[in-house]
Amino acid sequence: MNAETLGAVRRFLPQIVALFAILAINTAVFPGFLDITVQNDRFYGSLIDILNRGAPVALLAIGMTLVIATKGIDLSVGAVMAICGAVAASGVAGGGSVAMAVTTALVVGVACGAWNGMLVAMLGIQPIVATLILMVAGRGIAQLITEGVILTFNNEGLAFFGSGSIFALPVPVLLWIGMGVLVAFVVRRTALGLLIEAIGVNRRAATLSGVNSHVLLITVYMISGLCAAIAGVIAAADIRGADANNAGLWLELDAILAVVIGGTSLLGGRFTLLGSLIGAMIIQSINTGILSSGFPPEFNLIIKAVIILLILVIQSPALRTFVVFWRGPKEEVFDKEQSAP
C-alpha cells in the first residue's frame, strides 16, 4: 500500500469502520448477507442490492457534494428526479426512441440545474430558498407530464437503465460509479475542484481573485441537475413507470446525509466525493439491512436514526477533541509542563 492510499484510508477511517460495522451487524442478523451468486448471468445477492438500490442516492450525492462545497444546498434533486423520470417515460410511451427520451430527460435535468444556479448566482437568492422553489413546483411539473397517473411503459431499451446488466453488474451500479469517477477526475485533475472550494470558503474573495463565480456556481448546480436526471431515469426504468408522486421522494435528504456522513462540511469549502459515495453506501446498507433483518416495520426509522446518530457522534469534532485529549498528546502536554521552568 503506497502512502497515498494509506492517507486516504486514514482519512476515511470513521466512514470505512462504520460501513464494515453495519455490514457485520447485517451478517450477524441475516447470515446469508454476504453471499453473492451468479443468477441469470448476473451477480445476485444483498451486497449487489446495496450497490444497486443505493444508485439514486449515490448519484444525487455526487452533485450535492459539489453544491455543498460552494456553501450551497440543492433541495430540488428529488423533484428533478421525478420530472426527468416522467420526461423519459413519456418520451418512450409516446413512441419516441430510447436515445431521444433519455437525452431529453438529461437536458431537462441540466436545465433545472441551470434554473437553480441562476437564482443562486445571478439573483443572489439563498440556495436553500432558491432550490426549495423547484422542490415544491417540481412534483407538480412531473404530475403535469404524467397527467397525474403512474405512466407505465413496456420499452426494454429504457428498462435496461434500471434492471439491465453489463459484465454481470446491474447498470445503475455502473452508472453511479462511472459518474463518480468522471466527476472526480474532472474536478481533481483540473483546477476546478480548487475553484469550487474557493467559492465555498469565501465567494467574494474568490471573485476578486478572478474566479468567475457566476459561471462556476451555475455549472455546479447543472451538474447536480444532471446527476438527478440520471437518478430519475434509473428510478423510472426500475419500475417501468414514472411515479410523479413518489419518485425521489425525500431522497434530497438522504443525499445531504450521505455528503455529511462522508465528511464534507455543510459550511462549504473542502469536499470529498469518495466520502460522499461511501456515505451513500452506508445509508443503503442500513436500509437493506433493516429489510433483510425481518424486524417489524415500526422499528425501521428508529433503527436508522440511532445508527446515523452513532456515526455522526463518532465523527463529531467534540468527540475527536475528547479522544485526542484523553489519549494521544497526553504525554506531550505532560512534557511541556515538565519542561516549564
Partner: protein, 320 residues
C-alpha cells in the same frame, strides 16, 4: 304594496313551476377532497358519469385537500338550494355546524368513502368500503387457492400506521387464522409505492432462499404488488406460478398483470361510491325511505378468470 305582493306571488308561482321541473332533474352538490391519488381521480370521474347516466345535475367542487374549502362549498350548495349534497370528508371532525345548516335547510347529506365523528342525525348515510373486509376477501381467496398445501406468505404492508395498512393487515390475518398451513413469515412496509414494493420484495427473496421458500405474496395495494412482480421476475422466478400474488385496490395496471398471468387476484376498492349514494337518494327523495346509517360497498374479487383485459379497457380512462 299590492304590486309588491303580486310580484312576490308571481315569483313564488314561477319558482313552484320551476321547482317541479327541477324535481325531475335533481341537483346534487358534490364536495370532493381533491385529486391526491389515482383512485380519487377515478372516483370523481365515476361520480360525474353516474350523475350523467341518471340525469342528475351535478355541481362539483374540488377542495384541494382543505376542510375550509369543503365547508365553503357545502355552504354555497345550501345557498343554491340543491336537492342533496355528497361529501368526501377530508378530516373526521369539525363538520357539526355546517351540517347543522344543511339540516336546517332540509338538504340530505351523504358521506362518500370516509366517515366523520359527528352525531349521526346530521347526515343521511355514509357509503364507504370496509378495509378489514377487503383484507379478508384477499385472505379467503388465498386459503382456497392453496388448499391443504403448506404456504409461506410474505406481506407488503402499506405506510406504517396508516388506517388502510392496519385494517388490511387485520382482515387478512383473520382470514388465514383458521388455516394452520398458511403462515406469514415476513412482513415489511412498502409505503404503498412501486419502488419500495420492488426493493422490499428483493430483500424478501434473498432472505428466503432466493424465493424458493415463499409460496405467496400479499400486498396491501396493487402498486406494491406490481413492483414486487418485477423483483420476482428478475430473481428468475415466475410470479403468479412460483409465487402467488394477491393484492387490493384493482387499479388498471394490475389487470394487465392478471392477463399476463403474473398476478393472481385483486380485491376492488370501487371508485363507484356515488352509484349506491344516488340510488339511496332517489328512494329518499321519492318517498322518504330512510337508509341504514352505513352502506358498505362491494369488495369484489377479480382473478385471471374474470377477463382482465376487458376490465382494463373499462378502467383505463377513469383517471386512475
Amino acid at each position: 304594496m299590492l304590486f309588491k305582493s303580486a310580484l312576490a306571488g308571481a315569483t313564488m308561482l314561477a319558482s313552484a313551476v320551476l321547482g317541479t321541473s327541477v324535481a325531475s332533474a335533481t341537483t346534487v352538490g358534490f364536495s370532493q377532497i381533491g385529486s391526491e391519488s389515482g383512485w380519487r381521480a377515478a372516483e370523481t370521474t365515476v361520480t360525474k358519469k353516474e350523475a350523467e347516466k341518471r340525469g342528475i345535475d351535478l355541481k362539483f367542487a374540488d377542495a384541494q385537500q382543505k376542510q375550509e374549502n369543503q365547508i365553503k362549498a357545502i355552504r354555497s350548495f345550501i345557498a343554491q338550494g340543491v336537492d342533496a349534497i355528497l361529501v368526501a370528508p377530508v378530516v373526521e371532525t369539525g363538520w357539526d355546524s355546517v351540517l347543522e345548516e344543511a339540516k336546517d335547510a332540509e338538504i340530505p347529506v351523504i358521506l362518500l368513502d370516509r366517515t366523520i365523528k359527528a352525531s349521526d342525525d346530521l347526515y343521511l348515510t355514509a357509503v364507504t368500503s370496509d378495509q378489514v373486509h377487503e383484507g379478508k376477501v384477499a385472505g379467503n381467496w388465498l386459503v382456497e387457492a392453496v388448499g391443504n398445501k403448506d404456504c409461506n406468505i410474505v406481506e407488503l404492508q402499506g405506510t406504517t400506521g396508516s388506517s388502510p395498512a392496519i385494517a388490511r393487515k387485520k382482515g387478512f390475518e383473520e382470514a388465514i387464522a383458521g388455516s394452520e398451513n398458511l403462515e406469514i413469515i415476513r412482513s415489511q412496509t412498502g409505503d404503498f409505492t412501486r419502488t419500495k414494493g420492488k426493493e422490499v420484495m428483493e430483500s424478501f427473496l434473498k432472505a428466503e432462499d432466493g424465493g424458493k421458500n415463499i409460496c405467496a405474496l400479499y400486498a396491501h395495494n396493487d402498486d406494491m404488488a406490481l413492483g414486487a412482480i418485477q423483483a420476482i421476475k428478475e430473481a428468475g422466478l415466475k410470479p403468479g406460478e412460483d409465487i402467488l400474488v394477491v393484492s387490493i385496490d384493482a387499479v388498471p395496471d394490475i389487470f394487465k398483470a392478471l392477463a399476463a398471468g403474473e398476478a393472481n387476484a385483486t380485491v376492488e376498492l370501487t371508485p363507484n361510491m356515488a352509484g349506491p349514494a344516488f340510488d339511496i337518494l332517489e328512494a329518499y327523495l321519492a318517498d322518504g325511505t330512510t337508509p341504514e346509517k352505513w352502506i358498505q360497498t362491494e369488495s369484489k374479487l377479480f382473478t385471471q378468470a374474470d377477463d382482465p383485459m376487458a376490465v382494463y379497457e373499462e378502467k383505463k380512462d377513469l383517471g386512475y
